[in-house]
């Protein structure tokens, strides 16, 4: 079946000018927060590596600026942009973005939130991004701006998500017959989850805000609210990530799911089922958590990977089967034929590799007993940067690269951009594996100087230096993306946007079903094997420790 459809960029290019201005504002906000946040991440890594020294107050302020800016603002601006862009493209240019004033107001509130958080982070005590009232202590008024910022962000995100839902609903109402498209359905699920996440943010930070301004007592258990929110923050970008893969792969290769729209919708909807119960594993070290809850937590947190593995399989099997139906032979010829020189494709390819690496490491932490070895160590940032940088950020950048031509006319320096995911991944491998080794031997996260006056194991500094070198590569790769995209927006090049998606790889009708497509399933087998291997190593390490720990005897 040969299909061409209007490209995403072409659909967005034909939107009313005011709607394109809204998307441009969101794209620029996302890129600026990414670039700014990455700078502070790199600085933090350099201080940890001993490349230079900072007063602890300044160092922790930089760490705060990194966490706050990148985890809250880059991820939310990035998601808001792609959510609205995908929804708008569903409806087509004529219908445009629904509830656009709400989306504008939402964007404005998010920008105000960013400003308030900046004031909080630069002028208040360095609280890091969870902004615990306990740490703020006496300096509560100065800390107040951080809480206000998060509340504004939550309100803004809620409005943008509402606009995306309205847009997708309008697209459905206008469709003939009136059925959800896969992407439209995915957008609504994703937006719904983002709204839940806004509510979780209010739940986490409103009590602290009231306390900061003397309107309530110090919240008794801020860590629970934070865990709920953090958990949402963790997984929602994953839902967005797989949806962007789904949309972009079809757009770039002309291959769509051979499993049908309904199947994909069920998989997207299952995020709604799997995200909420998985919040437990962030709490494994909490004193007083019942043993049964711990075991259930271990189990449930695993199942978040079911829809992610399923989307991965849907995409990879569809691609392989379609390519084989078109005549690809051998084990990997089908993969080589994919458009890797397209920067978006390169970014998504790297995102998949990094998801495999980060995913297999994440499962070690889900083992409740290993949490006593690894939680709060550098193992945690080491593995999650594979996911936050390698998977989610590269995917959001792929999405932004796809839609900016609608605003600028063309993507600049595509060759250079297509190399950057490789640079980021090499950086991540250095950052991640050095950090994991350091974490396994107990090097803590969230410190600026892990030498402890010579009492710490000697290799912590050396490993931190490798982390620092990795950070240089990661930062370079991400900043080049940011610079090229922003330059494209500031100095637009007027070339014609390809108005149709390529149809070159489209599949002869039905032939794909008869193909053997084993690459996806075998990758999953490999992933499981890697998870087992890493866990065995971690357990044997725990055995070797010169201390026996046992229950408190009750």
């Amino acid at each position: 079946m040969t299909t061409t459809r209007q490209s995403l960029a072409a659909l967005l290019r034909d939107l009313p000018a005011a709607h394109r201005a809204l998307l441009t504002t969101l794209v620029v906000s996302a890129l600026v927060t990414l670039g700014y946040g990455v700078l502070f991440g790199a600085l933090t890594a350099f201080v940890r590596a001993g490349f230079f020294e900072l007063h602890p107050e300044t160092g922790y302020r930089f760490m705060t600026l990194h966490g706050v800016t990148i985890f809250f603002y880059w991820l939310y601006f990035g998601q808001a942009t792609m959510l609205l862009a995908l929804a708008a493209a569903e409806g087509g240019a004529i219908r445009g973005i629904k509830l656009a004033p709400a989306a504008w107001l939402g964007t404005l509130l998010m920008l105000l939130g960013f400003t308030a958080n900046q004031i909080g982070a630069w002028t208040g005590p360095p609280l890091l991004y969870d902004a615990s009232p306990e740490v703020a202590g006496e300096e509560r008024v100065a800390a107040g701006m951080s809480y206000v910022g998060y509340l504004l962000l939550a309100a803004g995100l809620f409005l943008v998500a509402a606009s995306a839902i309205a847009t997708a609903l309008a697209a459905k109402a206008a469709a003939n017959p009136r059925v959800w498209s896969t992407i439209g359905f995915g957008v609504v699920t994703w937006a719904g989850l983002l709204m839940v996440s806004s509510v979780a943010a209010v739940n986490a930070f409103l009590p602290s805000a009231l306390w900061a301004y003397g309107l309530a007592d110090m919240p008794t258990d801020p860590s629970t609210g934070w865990h709920l929110l953090f958990h949402n923050l963790h997984y929602l970008p994953l839902m967005g990530t797989v949806l962007i893969w789904y949309a972009l792969i079809r757009e770039m290769t002309g291959v769509k799911s051979i499993f049908g729209s309904r199947f994909s919708k069920i998989v997207f909807a299952s995020y709604l089922i799997f995200v909420p119960p998985t919040s437990l594993y962030h709490m494994f070290l909490e004193p007083g958590l019942a043993p049964l809850v711990r075991v259930l937590g271990s189990l449930l947190s695993l199942f978040i990977s079911v829809p992610t593995v399923a989307v991965f399989l849907v995409i990879v099997v569809s691609l392989e089967a379609s390519m084989r139906a078109r005549g690809s032979r051998g084990l990997f010829a089908w993969m080589r034929a994919l458009p890797w020189r397209t920067p978006e494709m390169a970014a998504i390819g790297a995102a998949v590799v990094n998801l495999g690496l980060g995913g297999s490491l994440a499962f070690v932490l889900i083992q409740e007993r290993l949490a006593t070895l690894l939680s709060d160590t550098f193992f945690v940032p080491a593995y999650f940067h594979f996911l936050t940088v390698g998977t989610v950020s590269l995917t959001l950048l792929a999405g932004l690269m796809r839609i900016t031509p609608a605003l600028t006319g063309a993507l600049r320096a595509p060759r250079l951009l297509a190399l950057m995911p490789v640079v980021v991944t090499v950086g991540l491998v250095l950052f991640g594996f050095a950090g994991i080794f350091a974490g396994i031997s107990g090097m803590p996260r969230r410190v600026l100087d892990a030498s402890y006056d010579g009492a710490a194991p000697a290799n912590w500094l050396m490993l931190s230096q490798i982390v620092g070198v990795g950070a240089i590569l990661m930062a370079a790769g991400l900043l080049i993306h940011v610079a090229i995209l922003l330059a494209g927006i500031a100095l637009p090049v007027r070339r014609t946007v390809p108005s149709r998606s390529p149809a070159v790889l489209a599949t002869p009708d039905g032939a794909a079903f008869r193909q053997a497509a084993w690459t996806g399933p075998l990758s999953v087998v490999l992933l499981v094997a890697a998870m087992y291997a890493i866990t065995i190593v971690a357990f044997s390490l725990m055995q070797a420790l010169p201390v026996v720990a046992s229950a408190g005897g009750h």
Binding site: I258, P287, Y452, D453, G553
Partner: protein, 235 residues
Amino acid sequence: MNDLSDVPANAGSMRHHLTTRRGFIATASFGAVSLYALWAAFDAAPFNIVGLHDSNVPGGGHGGAKETAADSMAGHGGHGAANAGAASEEFRRMTEDFVARHRLPDGSVRAPRNELALSETMPAAHDMHASHGTMPMEAMSGTPVDVYLMAQQWSYEPAVLRLDAEVPYRFRMMATDASHGAALQLGRGSQIIRLRRGILTDRELTFRRPGEYLVYCTVYCGVGHDRMTGKIIVS
């Protein structure tokens, strides 16, 4: 971007390869994850295969040695700032008492070595409503020796604790101002312990090898966080 015609009209009548069936995708996704879930829950087969499993261990044998899930216990825990404050004060008093009783001339604290010394500390534990507090005295022979560790911005009390190898200790720990960590650096790895403000956390630990072990904070607690250290000397 509409994709309603995702599946070809004649798809039903075609012979599908196993890998292109929906059932296969669903089973593979669930199956792969469940396999691991089984293991996570029951420490199933792989440990037996690689010979690491030790089923004689109390608590189910995981990763061998004599280890059980190190548990923690809330004393007064988590019932509001006032309660946390009261619990913290009480714990502070008990720790100071412990330190005063066992302080050596060099300022370090040596843990009590005999049953008598152990029983001296128990009434205080009883006050804390800890579950051990109600234990009859005769049941206590062979019970681990109690030691106290208080975490506060940005130090531990006692800062240097002397223990004996192969003696089981019950670490009674609390963070008194903000949340802290009390991680033990043990060479190839660390035991990470999280302490919440005003919540009593007990952990039984037996050191198997003499040596000096770094105690350090692993929960961010303000600008002095990475200077917050203590030492355990095991002889």
